[in-house]
């Protein structure tokens, strides 16, 4: 997957605030690439710089062998010349035009022949199941329907790159899952690259070939969904993907213990790379913790605070010294009861710096 869309040293500053800091990545042809992060992390600003709605402070944006933005070379291609498809969070379909005219709009701008406009519009409407609604105003459609119109409009020009800016977050949860797969199917069929911005990690995991995790304008990790989940680069990525527990561990020279005088279990040591830190973070996922017999010396010792039955799973809150952590087990596994002592084993623990 050679780089088709290339961002080189892309930086955006608003006054003193650096919204996006030195972003470098390449996206292959036909790849689905997600930018994931909490609101305000710079992901939407990045997408808008790719689209051409925001100027870059530094860096370059390339698609194929075309340079689109480069303040250093004083080059800027306006959005209408970039030939992208784009879908916005708030749908942005035009209420004064019918569904058909919404989709035909980009084709009319390109001054195609009437027969070609009709054919490509109908193709896009068929692909998005909108043929029946083509003469309505999109105002009468549901949120999902409006977003399909926006997708069809973006598809009509058969773009190489599709930019999706939180396209599903205005939809109901069940619709969101459905549309996710519709987008994926359309990509399979048309073969465009996707740059997808979202704050919803499950959406990013389900759709993407690769995910970029961003925090305060700085890239934290770029990898496949599996690697991001299995090998989070730092505490922030670990916490942003899936459920997470973090236990602070105090280090004093060679000895380490948890706040409240709880000793580390036998055989567990802080990795050497963190030797200089006074406080480190011991990370685990609630679903990857086993209960051991309460007196097992290789387990971390705690007391069950609360036990909640959630259907398929049982959710425990365990008090470990001054800290708490969550454990989730299948409903068939017998576990300790509230008030009882217990011992825990982390199946795949990670160690991070406290302040990452």
């Amino acid at each position: 997957m050679a780089g088709f869309v290339r961002l080189i040293g892309v930086t955006k500053r608003f006054g003193d605030v650096t919204a996006v800091n030195n972003l470098n990545y390449e996206i292959g042809k036909g790849e689905c690439f997600s930018m994931l992060g909490p609101s305000g992390c710079g992901k939407t600003t990045t997408l808008r710089m790719v689209a051409g709605f925001e100027d870059l402070t530094e860096g370059e944006v390339w698609v194929g062998d075309q340079l689109f933005s480069s303040p250093a070379k004083n080059h800027y291609t306006p959005p209408e010349k970039r030939n992208f498809g784009m879908v916005f969070q708030a749908f942005a379909v035009w209420p004064h035009l019918s569904v058909y005219e919404n989709v035909a709009f980009p084709l009319r701008i390109r001054k195609l022949s009437e027969s070609e406009i009709d054919q490509r519009t109908m193709d896009a409407l068929k692909a998005t199941n909108l043929v029946a609604a083509k003469d309505q105003s999109p105002d009468y459609l549901s949120g999902g329907g409006k977003q399909r119109v926006a997708l069809a409009r973006a598809l009509a020009i058969n773009p190489d790159v599709m930019l999706l800016d939180e396209p599903l977050s205005s939809l109901d949860p069940h619709l969101r899952e459905e549309m996710r797969f519709e987008i994926k199917d359309l990509q399979m069929k048309y073969g465009f690259s996707i740059i997808y911005v979202t704050h919803d990690q499950s959406e990013a995991m389900a759709l993407s070939d690769r995910i970029l995790v961003m925090k305060l304008g700085v890239v934290q990790q770029i990898d496949t969904p599996l690697n991001i989940y299995n090998n989070p680069a730092n505490k922030f990525v670990f916490s942003f993907i899936g459920l997470s527990n973090f236990l602070a561990v105090n280090q004093d020279g060679s000895s380490a213990q948890l706040p409240g005088g709880v000793a580390l279990p036998a055989g567990v040591t802080v990795p050497d790379r963190l030797a200089g830190e006074s406080v480190v973070s011991w990370a685990s996922r609630p679903s990857e913790i086993d209960f051991l017999p309460a007196d097992d010396p290789t387990g971390l010792h705690g007391v069950v605070n609360r036990k909640a039955f959630l259907g398929e799973i049982i959710d425990y809150q365990i008090q470990v010294g001054e800290q708490t952590l969550r454990v989730q087990k299948g409903r068939r596994d017998p576990g300790p009861e509230p008030g009882e002592n217990c011992a825990l084993r982390f199946l795949r623990p990670f160690w991070y710096k406290e302040d990452e």
Partner: protein
């Protein structure tokens, strides 16, 4: 038991509200319709038509349509263009210009008309004279006493109606609606033409209809500028008939028929406006708010900026300056040299001349009284319309719409019919008749401001207070009233300031000792007392501008 007692309260409030609207607004309007069609104990529709066919009345009708039509088209183009410039382009000094474009809202248009008369009257206007004396022109460069002249002056003062509506729509519009057109390949001019303008069209039309409504019923500009060439519209003809004939039967009847035409056209306009706002108002308000994109004007940037500054200087600053300068002259016609200018006129009208002193006193007391009464009546009536669910509310909703659609001269005529003694009370030739008319005229403003404030107060707030043990009255006093206070303040100033410069209503109702500021300026100007009338106009402008600045200051604090 509790529900029963609050039911009683509701009935009292409802009854009072209906009574106020019936006595103040509905009854006078009904009297107009009655007098227009009921002659000598029988219904006479063709008689009314006959009156409209008379050359003079027919002319007034046509003139009203021509002037309103031209003013509406002109104002809509000017207002939309400036709104687009200050919200959607990268023109420098946009914020300053936006506030300047709203200034004509404050300025009374008949004072503007007086200023323009001094600047552009065919033979004596300063500008026309300048061109004829210094640049060798044979005749005036522009004849102000024409349909074009009158409409042009109206446009200068009416375009903010469209401007403010379109600015609001453009600012609230979801920018991604335009961005998605851009990413589809459309250039900025195509987007403006195919996406932006169609989406704000309902706001444009609604502003245009407001202007139409206002211009049809507008007295001042036409009265000041039309008289020389015999151009008059419906309100001017009503005024002249009533004024000249001293209230004879024939003149009253002509007046009522003309007023009926005004009421019907106003009703049609209001209906059309509601229809447009109801059906065509798109949901274009966005979620995420990015700065909307700005059209880069490039080469046009500075020419357009200079054009805007020139427009502001020419239509807003110049007339105001002329009013102040002429107000300082000892005799009209002298040149504006330091030795000819003084503050003597201002001293004279403020401290010595009883006509102007009375006028200022009358306007201020009338404005204050009308504003206070209308503010409280408005909050009560709005409360019934917005919040209460009682039988008979439908009547009130209909009555509440009436003040919006009844033009000033109609109210004045109706008030004459109702309060001149036929029904036991004779207020004619007293200030009270003007007060009654002001209350009727400004009720619409109060209803609008108060219902907007009340709609913000969710029912659950009162329910929560009732659940805490408060009675209906306590909830109203402790919860609702404090929350609608800003709306009440707004209503007060929306009434007090315009009433200081009111002309259309007072001109029909004044007696020698009950002149208002507007009437005094107008009549002094008609009598040829140009410098005195300009000095009074200048003082009125100062009061209005100071008042508006104070309000802006307070409302800004409130919203912060």
């Amino acid at each position: 038991m509790n529900t029963k007692s609050s039911f009683g309260v509701a009935q009292i409030i409802l009854f009072l509200s209906i009574a106020i609207l019936v006595v103040v607004v509905a009854f006078p309007v009904l009297l107009i319709l009655f007098n227009a069609f009921w002659v000598e104990d029988h219904f006479n529709f063709s008689g009314a038509i006959e009156i409209l066919k008379e050359p003079e009345t027919f002319k007034a009708l046509i003139n009203s349509l021509i002037i309103a039509g031209m003013s509406t088209i002109g104002s809509t183009i000017v207002g939309t263009f400036f709104a687009w410039l200050v919200t959607r382009t990268d023109m420098p000094h946009k914020r300053f210009m936006k506030s300047m474009f709203l200034v004509p809202f404050m300025l009374p248009s008949f004072i503007g008309a007086m200023a323009w008369k001094m600047l552009l009257s065919p033979n004596a206007g300063f500008i026309n004279r300048f061109f004829m004396d210094n640049l060798g022109f044979d005749g005036p460069i522009f004849n102000l006493y024409s349909y074009y002249g009158i409409s042009a002056v109206e446009v200068m003062y009416l375009f903010p109606f469209v401007f403010i509506q379109v600015c609001g729509a453009l600012e609230r519009m979801d920018p991604t609606l335009e961005e998605s057109a851009r990413i589809s390949g459309a250039g900025l001019f195509t987007i403006t033409r195919k996406i932006t303008i169609p989406l704000v069209l309902p706001s444009i039309l609604s502003g245009a209809l407001l202007i139409m409504l206002y211009s049809m019923a507008h007295f001042g500009t036409v009265a000041v500028l039309g008289i020389e060439n015999g151009i008059y519209n419906i309100p001017v003809l009503i005024y002249e008939r009533i004024h000249q004939s001293g209230g004879s039967f024939e003149s009253i009847r002509t007046g009522t028929v003309l007023a009926t035409v005004l009421v019907i056209s106003a009703a049609c306009i209001i209906w059309a406006q509601r229809k447009i706002l109801g059906s065509g108002h798109y949901q274009i308000i966005g979620g995420k708010s990015f700065r909307p994109m700005e059209l880069k004007l490039r080469g046009l940037k500075y020419p357009l900026m200079f054009f805007c500054f020139a427009y502001i200087a020419f239509t807003i600053v110049l007339p105001t300056v002329v009013i102040f300068l002429v107000g300082g002259l000892s005799t009209y016609g002298l040149s504006f040299t330091p030795e000819n200018l003084s503050l003597d006129n201002f001293k004279f009208i403020l401290f010595e001349y009883d006509v102007t002193r009375d006028a200022i006193f009358n306007s201020v007391t009338l404005g204050l009284t009308a504003a206070i009464i209308t503010m409280f009546a408005g909050v009560m009536i709005s409360y019934v319309i917005v919040k209460m669910d009682v039988k008979g509310k439908g009547i009130l909703e209909f009555l509440g719409m009436l003040p919006f659609s009844v033009p000033g001269s109609v109210i004045a005529l109706g008030v004459i019919l109702a309060w001149s003694g036929q029904f036991g009370i004779n207020l004619y030739n007293t200030v009270w008749i003007i007060l009654v008319a002001y209350i009727a005229r400004y009720m619409a403003f109060s209803l609008k401001a108060n219902s907007a404030a009340l709609e913000q107060v969710h029912d659950s707030l009162v329910e929560a207070s009732r659940a805490c043990g408060a009675t209906m009255w306590q909830s109203l006093k402790d919860i609702v009233l404090p929350l609608v206070k800003p709306g009440m303040f707004a209503a007060f100033f929306l009434i007090f300031l315009p009433s200081l410069r009111e002309l259309t209503v007072s001109i029909m109702l004044y007696a020698p000792t009950t002149r208002t500021i507007g009437v005094a300026i107008y009549t002094l100007n008609e009598d040829g007392e140009t410098v005195i009338s300009c000095a009074l106009a200048a003082i009125a402008l100062i009061i209005i501008i100071v008042g508006q600045t104070v309000i802006n200051h307070f409302t800004k604090k409130e919203s912060e």
